[in-house]
Symmetry: C2
Subunit: 153 residues, 2 copies
């Protein structure tokens, strides 16, 4: 397994999650977890990513709250293990929710412009953006339905 | 026309464009242009948004290069006027291109994990993200086709 390849992958996942407003360290921790075939400890994450324990603990808490990772307590020990889940739909959904808030704000702008070319231009811009977001929303809903039908309780 | 409403709209457009990696000032300038029924001068943008001339000039250059605004020289004068275009598809396309680069990097990660549950998990995450991006890409292509068919040369 190439160390460079691992590093590049981990950075890419960091970039990806950063584009959805998660800190880069959190995204990198998710990248490392995605490459790990077994649950790993917070110390392992800190060592591999050269992060402080505090930073790792924050990152793991964020991943857990987003449903991107699961924290597994070890019986009779204070040690925690962490495992990635495949749940990026929660992130995509959050990005959708942000986009919908923006669209609502943009729609309010339509009333600020008198009817005419400027209002049509604004209407087109909002329409394209809203169409783009709706399509993604429908895909996520479909994905969730399929999941719920098969794997989930 | 409510000044608060204008300000809120302009901030929202700034937030929207910031989510696609454009500086907030550039997004706000686009927001102001979208509300303007006539082309406006750089000085007007500077005054309305409380930005320096240099900041406005950078913002307008960025909007122009993204196809979000058109700069109109005034014959016999060094004054420039600026007008919004409805071209946010170029921004959506750039965001798509970034996403596709990330997907390619993630796919390379699949070879870093032995076949088994971890590889399946990674495959699922990449598949969902890629599906989401492809769908947006198809919508933009369709939109561009319709546009080219009607308004464009």
């Amino acid at each position: 397994m190439s160390a460079d390849g691992r590093r590049a992958f981990i950075t890419s996942v960091g970039d990806l999650l950063a584009s959805w407003n998660l800190p880069h360290a959190t995204g990198r921790a998710y990248g490392l977890l995605l490459l790990s075939e077994e649950p790993i400890s917070l110390d392992t994450i800190a060592a591999e990513l050269e992060l402080s324990k505090g930073a790792v603990s924050t990152a793991v808490r964020q991943l857990d709250s987003w449903g991107l990772a699961r924290v597994i307590p070890q019986p009779g020990s204070r040690r925690l293990l962490v495992e990635a889940t495949g749940g990026i739909e929660s992130l995509l959904e959050a990005s959708q929710a942000r986009a919908r808030t923006l669209i609502a704000a943009l729609r309010e702008g339509e009333s600020l412009v008198r009817s005419g070319p400027a209002q049509e231009r604004l209407h087109d811009v909002i329409g394209l953006f809203a169409g783009y977001v709706d399509l993604g929303g429908r895909m996520l809903a479909e994905h969730r339905r399929r999941r719920t039908g098969s794997a989930r309780p």
